[in-house]
């Protein structure tokens, strides 16, 4: 008997510690909808002191500073809520309500999402402003250089042409860098999928390969794509993001193989509950001491910096983020001077 009482006391203690230190507003309401207990954050969110809330009926709480009606209106006796949005005094709140067993009242959680929403909005705005502001002057440079090169502004000497072509490719590089930065911001903006749909990975690979047709021809790289199974299970994919991930892997494979000698093989197969993508090249490989940093932001291998190829150090970082947002995994095998194989796996619904 004594033991039981003790354990009830301990449980009560635990609940009090939890409530008193909880960052969200918490209200514990009894079966008659009278407020029994609140967390300290509730005082701040409702702009009302504890002693003026505890003991009151849920529908009769008020504050001299703000109007609590929008919040009170959400509640109906015994009705559970899950993250219902309420605007209260310029704050955006998510209100949830859960009934206790045997009609012993309920727990109300008031979660402040204003800051998160604000940051999200600012980031989205930044992306769109950066895209527009940075790309506009670069478009002007691109267009005018191209027109001069095309002879639209009169004849261009061979020497001038060479210089202008180099300027043009530097500018293209800048445009590419901005795209990479925007992609990173966009990926980081939400680790959620923007537009998930059921589709075959194969379809994305075939489409992405089309973007590289020209460069494959110029570099004379031998690219092959094989699917082991006739029909792999479809995956839930964000098409735009997955295209970007595969684009980055293919781009690296092509960039870091020697012209005329490059061999790239892409495979798809099913293993347990995953579809596995594999891209194998016979390129320059990754130095062993740099394995750990390969997926970090702005990282580029020592050996590829020496090759003077363009790169922002964001491709694999972005790719990893995308694969992980599809609940997948990414890894690689590499031997410096021999080649690299990147793999990723995406689970399918059973």
């Amino acid at each position: 008997m004594n033991n039981e009482k003790n354990s009830i006391n301990i449980d009560k203690d635990k609940i009090l510690i939890m409530v008193n230190n909880f960052p969200d507003g918490l209200l514990i309401v009894d079966e008659k909808e009278n407020i029994e207990l609140i967390s300290p954050s509730t005082e701040y969110l409702l702009k009302q002191k504890k002693e003026n809330i505890v003991g009151k009926n849920l529908y009769r709480i008020s504050s001299s500073e703000i109007d609590l009606k929008p919040l009170i209106k959400v509640f109906k006796e015994k009705e559970e809520k899950n993250k219902e949005e309420v605007t209260l005094n310029n704050l955006l709140l998510e209100v949830s309500s859960f009934n206790f067993q045997n009609n012993k009242g309920r727990l109300i959680i008031v979660h402040d999402v204003s800051r998160g929403k604000l940051v999200e909005k600012m980031k989205t705005e930044f992306v769109s402003i950066a895209a527009h502001q940075l790309r506009t002057p670069l478009s002007a440079i691109k267009w005018s250089l191209k027109m001069i090169l095309d002879g639209d502004a009169g004849e261009v000497s061979k020497e001038q042409k060479e210089l202008l072509e180099k300027t043009y490719s530097s500018n293209e590089r800048m445009i590419g860098l901005i795209n990479d930065l925007l992609n990173v911001t966009r990926i980081e903006e939400g680790r959620f999928l923007y537009n998930p749909e059921e589709m075959q990975l194969e379809e994305i690979i075939i489409n992405t390969l089309k973007d590289f047709e020209e460069i494959i021809k110029i570099k004379k790289v031998d690219v092959k794509f094989k699917s082991k199974e006739k029909q792999l299970p479809p995956l839930i994919i964000d098409k735009e993001k997955m295209t970007l991930a595969i684009h980055n892997l293919l781009d690296n494979a092509i960039k870091y193989t020697v012209p005329h000698k490059g061999k790239i093989n892409i495979f798809l197969e099913q293993k347990n509950n995953d579809v596995i993508f594999k891209i194998e090249d016979n390129g320059v490989g990754i130095p062993k001491d740099q394995y750990e940093r390969i997926f970090s932001r702005f990282f580029r291998g020592d050996n590829v910096i020496k090759m003077e190829t363009q790169g922002s150090g964001l491709g694999l970082y972005t790719t990893k983020n995308i694969i992980e947002s599809h609940n997948g995994k990414i890894w690689f095998d590499s031997e410096e001077g021999e080649g690299t194989t990147f793999y990723f796996s995406i689970p399918f619904k059973v």
Binding site: V127, S128, A131, H132, R135, T136, L138, S139, A140, K142, W143, S144, K146, M147, D150, D152, I175, I178, R186, Y194, N195, E240
Partner: protein, 121 residues
């Protein structure tokens, strides 16, 4: 001669593109903002329209909406030519009736004219 309306607020871009388009056997009509563009759609009756999105005053999406509502011009193909390019923008543009969405920084003037040619044929 086929007529191309360019709605672009950046003077330099507008004139460059106008020059290229004229040199390739089209007639280029220039509009400096959305209001001007809508007006010229009605008076100039272009065969195709290049539309920027970020414009002073009325933005490109609004121009697109207005144009599609007007029975005298809603058949004219509109190509969005903007430096926005997030999937939300692209989807919105196509949903509102644009034929294509080109990111300025990704296309050369010649490539833009090739697109125009494609839609006019």
């Amino acid at each position: 001669m086929k007529k191309v309306l360019i709605i672009e607020d950046d003077k330099f871009l507008r004139e460059l593109l106008g020059k290229k388009i004229s040199s390739l056997g089209y007639s280029a009509v220039l509009a400096i903002d959305g209001e001007d563009g809508l007006e010229k759609m009605k008076t100039e009756k272009p065969d195709i329209i290049l539309l920027d999105l970020i414009l002073p005053g009325m933005n490109g999406f609004e121009v697109l909406e207005q144009a599609k509502k007007n029975p005298t011009i809603n058949e004219t193909p509109i190509i969005i030519l903007s430096n926005l390019g997030q999937s939300e923008d692209i989807e919105k543009g196509l949903r509102l009736g644009a034929k294509d969405f080109l990111v300025k920084a990704h296309f050369t003037p010649q490539e833009i004219v090739n697109k125009i040619q494609m839609f006019l044929n």
